[in-house]
Symmetry: D2
Subunit: 401 residues, 4 copies
């Protein structure tokens, strides 16, 4: 029973879960193992060491939690904060909305800074709030690096600068779900206290592993954080780290081997090359959108995301119909518009293990769908724009030179 089967490959362009590279699929194609044998801790040790590299941190402590991004969020909050704590959080799209909802339900006092969907976090308001907060009642600043619903990338370096400007001690918590390992992210340089991602995003693994890095200040905060936590408690992990057995409960053997291979592939390509590739594919997508005469949901270039592009459709078209036709006619999986932008945007995910020709196939598909639904696109126009850019910017595959 294969629910998804049609002739040829499924073209997976949702912004997660993303395409898994063949070597990773292979690595995960295995029986279970005893996680208390000497082999699994030995493997885990390499993973914990290497996963820090994709966060660009040498000082933080990583946790590989059997959960999703939502669980990773929860671990970041409950390990560092206490109910009633005041936190500043930016609402700029569906995923920041969901995180704020979680923050509120976990009992924090959330100071929501809202922007229009399609804009980045309003950092001027952050500055004024921090300026006013001489009593340091703000315990944490929570921000989604890349809002997957609108394709908006926030400026984290600037958040750090503002915190520093006011010498504010608030923790800096970052959702890097659709950014880490695809966009420029520098945990140590930007003084991020907790950063997290999910296995099914830029790491190009199946869903099921929340990857959280906690800096020294965040670990210190766990000592006073009164939020109730057991499954997500970092201290349970730390206890087993000391023992060298690493796991407070059973990990997914398959995901461990998968992560090993995923990291190997990333390091083989070079993390900076991976990020540059995302930049190229993002740019090519935006050029195609422009050529189609459509608008990016993201309102300013400074916020353009290199991992997902939300495309605004004309009012006479239902963007959900675009996604539906992609699925039914071309075996193309695009992202729906969510919540406020439902029906108004569709999304092209261009993150993870992807290359130029895969993207161009997707763009050609979008052109045909646009025509299908009555938008007067000039067929080939977006592909041409993307090709013109890519043909000048795509490097040779290093291992094949």
């Amino acid at each position: 029973m294969d629910y998804v089967y049609g002739p040829g490959r499924n073209h997976l362009f949702v912004p997660g879960p993303v395409n898994i590279p063949e070597p990773v699929i292979r690595a995960m194609n295995r029986n279970n193992e005893d996680y208390r044998s000497p082999a699994v801790p030995a493997l885990t040790k390499t993973l914990l060491e290497d996963v820090k590299k994709i966060f660009k941190t040498t000082t933080a402590t990583p946790f590989l939690i059997p959960t999703t991004g939502t669980g990773a969020w929860e671990s970041a909050l409950t390990n560092t904060l206490s109910p009633g704590d005041r936190i500043v959080s930016f609402l700029i799209g569906q995923f920041s909305l969901l995180w704020i909802d979680q923050q509120q339900r976990l009992g924090f006092n959330v100071d929501v800074v809202e922007s229009e969907w399609g804009q980045g976090a309003n950092l001027d308001i952050l500055a004024s709030k921090l300026a006013a907060d001489t009593a340091h009642t703000i315990k944490a600043v929570c921000i989604v690096h890349n809002e997957t619903a609108t394709g908006v990338t926030n400026n984290l370096a600037k958040v750090r600068r503002i915190l520093d400007d006011y010498s504010h001690p608030a923790l800096f918590l970052v959702d890097g779900v659709s950014s880490i390992c695809a966009l420029d992210f520098r945990m140590d340089e930007w003084g991020v206290d907790v950063a997290l991602t999910g296995s099914q995003k830029a790491l190009s693994l199946p869903t099921g592993m929340g990857i959280v890095c906690a800096g020294p200040k965040a670990l210190e905060a766990t000592k006073t954080a009164k939020s109730v936590r057991v499954f997500f408690d970092w201290n349970d992990y730390l206890k087993f780290y000391k023992l060298g057995t690493y796991w407070p409960y059973t990990p997914s053997i398959q995901l461990l081997y998968g992560l090993r291979t995923a990291l190997d592939l990333i390091f083989e390509e070079g993390l900076d090359n991976v990020i540059a590739r995302h930049s190229r594919l993002g740019k090519a997508t935006r050029l195609a959108v422009e050529a189609w005469g459509l608008k990016n949901c993201t309102q300013k270039e400074e916020w353009f995301s290199d991992t997902v592009t939300a495309v605004v459709v004309p009012p006479y078209i239902d963007s959900s119909e675009i996604v539906r036709r992609g699925w039914k006619r071309y075996n193309l999986s695009l992202g729906l518009g969510l919540n406020k932008v439902a029906g108004k945007v569709f999304r092209i995910g261009h993150l993870g293990n992807l290359n130029e020709l895969q993207l161009l196939g997707c763009l050609a598909g979008v052109e045909m769908i646009l025509k299908d639904v009555g938008y007067p696109v000039k067929l080939g126009s977006g592909v041409a724009a993307a090709c013109a850019y890519l043909q000048n910017n795509t490097p040779l595959i290093p291992s094949r030179i």
Copy 2:
């Protein structure tokens, strides 16, 4: 890089994670998919319907949570109870201990009923506590069906009887991690309010899915339960069940397809045949232990477990050395003794997708190891005892008659 490799198969006899059947490994050998396409909800719908069958319930609501058994525990508690609630919980081994630890850290008032490790839950004490509790201050009775550390199976039907005897309204919460789908378990008949298991146990999948069934009384209890919860909140699932999209956050596509195949295999063999097979393998193991002149950690036959046997070694032997040699010399993975019984017992897991000859290979291996570590076993004795029983009781494979 294959940390676990040696010539031939690894003989996996820890009581979880267990051997994955080849058809399930195949089913999971796939790329990611868009979980918002029509295919994934269609698949999920069949899973939610069919997973109830292995709990023997028609009235409960299942949740397939991307977590481990520990997370499934947490969801059972936080969705139905409020901090400060009095609960009765039985401490009979390492896993009941860990659950009680969780219960305490989640802020419940835990009335611990302790037994010697190797004994079952003391249900007489339960009876007296319920008798005394005319005010119904006990909000829940929490019990581990099968204590994986000692190989003790508790009598759930009797728990139900006692609750009924006193017409006590306490919720009946069951950890079925190493029992459901392997031992006789009847959620509806026994009036269990919440039952849970993990994918890597009798279902023979990789780790990563906590499977929880909540009966009507448990769902009712969620309305007043004040425990803080977001990731584990059943209501977030129920909202998406109503929409027919099923997932509040991203599921593991691979585990969904894996579960589909796992259930298909179980139904093809017949759930009762699966349970009978576990009974046969459990009995054969105990006969071997007896033939070796060793003692079962479980003190009475009524508690003998058909999914795991903890074998007591003589005081002059360190049971950890047995596990170590199994790994190093025979590619055999046995379970360590944990906590109070560390060094004193080793464990043979005989659950999940397993057959007679696999077990006999393991038993032969244990005999050689026992000799390796200086125990005067008669080689072949345990295998002979097991064979004598199995040769008379193993049915033909139905699909091959």
Copy 3:
């Protein structure tokens, strides 16, 4: 060690081996089995029955030989002919050339009918030869249905007509390696005596199985055919067919299960839909080539192949450089020009398990490569032409309506 790895998928557009569908990869992901158990013959029986459907024959006997197309050729010849036998064979490209070389080395008296590369078989010469051969010295007419080197499809119905016109009893032997299961092929209707293909072509399996169908007249011919043969002897198979064990020597278990799934997928899509899909993709490719201002190596429309297009490059470009750059820069695998057309053509294979968007990604890639090597292509032009056609002709995926 993964020699072929680069970021993203490899875009495989050689005319074989072709892309394997995920369900087939899954089906082949398995341990060996005893081929003398009851299971393998039961499986084989279904394969022999079903494989006839893709040849459109009910009267022929199929052989699944552990070999390549070259071996399948050899089996067709040695089982039906004797050294010295006169045969007519058409030389129109590299693969017909290789078959003729084999025919000569096997000791037949080959009457070669040569055409310019890029033209189809000269059937007028066939007619005159048959007309002259009143003594019936011609024992067989050998023809490649689809010459993979030049993208030329021969008219088999016409070959049959000519044979019938002269009531000539020569055997009609067809190489259907790059046609069967992709192009219109009718073994019974066209009176083909032996037809053959290879697993790695339209069936979209790994290499390793030569699939040969022998009609009643061909089987009759085996009785007098004196060519030396053992490994390729059909009679060894027929002996085991009678016994119901089917295999004179060990088959590949993996390929058997793979073929089962491949056939299931083809029947699920519908053989006629599969052929129609190839026709669409072939037409789209040719429209792109035209838009680029390049010439099809195939000189007339009647010979255009729906499984492979050989594109002629201008004299100032080395077509091998196009293939090299596809590999090195875009992870695109195109077919080289072979022998007489080496350096002059490159080939786009569009056969097997493939869909529209995969092809469009390839075409976009070719456009960039053409620009890379200095050909003044208008970027997007070929994709636009292909899209314009496909957008009007691609049906919904039946299973998703």
Copy 4:
């Protein structure tokens, strides 16, 4: 559709095809690739270099032919001999019989030296034939190193000695199908001119690759050998070896990667350790047979095979019933008795990627089956005998020390 499925693993103890190690299954779990890209020749080059090591040759040229053992036989004969050539061949069981049948059908003048099934090749007769053949009419001596039907290993070193004693120039052709990479085999030291094996035997791959090594004298012989050959012609390979593209026709990409991993695993374990492991498992099996009171089909210890044991059953038992029950009741695949020994022997294959506990599970199964069919075996007796030996002789797994 899984024809072979039953609960737990299938216990595969036929003497081929044998169990594939998980890392090899993983390595083969992949899409097709263009075999004309730079990657496949680079991979092939390492394979051709490394495969010679398992033949213990530095001077021979290897061919990886897409065929089975039967095809490998054919290539050995047709490349080196001419029709009518006199060859000496030993008939000692079903596989030597089949090879002789092939030799005769290929037109050679076969001087058959027959022994009772269960005995080795009669080398005294060879000596007398060579002594008499002062005219050197004998062009080749053909011998099966290990007769898989009876479990007889011939003494190749002695064959060489006899050839040398008479300074006879006959080619020395060896079928090493069930020996190479499992038994002591030394191509160069023993002056073997052609040796061959199949991928599905000790190399533990799927069926589909015939591996043939031809020494300098054999390559020289190709120049005068008049046997008709095309598909099996080594010269077609040699032509492509020179070009560095290696393949005269399409290889199985999956088998190439599989072979790479298989060789890596063998070298990691150490070829001598692999051979020692086969020796241990063979010895343990024979000790079990003895303990059961049954006879080895092989009549003398000097011929005992370390890769397969044919066990003679009492006259009142049909050995086929033993194989049938193994399959139907215990998911155990044993080898049937073939031809002259059909019904009289069953065979336990103990070759390929296998370890002690797998074998012991099989032996326990055989004991139960023997009891099932009415043989008065003492349950546990064979396992005890095997364990007693193995417990004293099994080394630690080197990578785990």
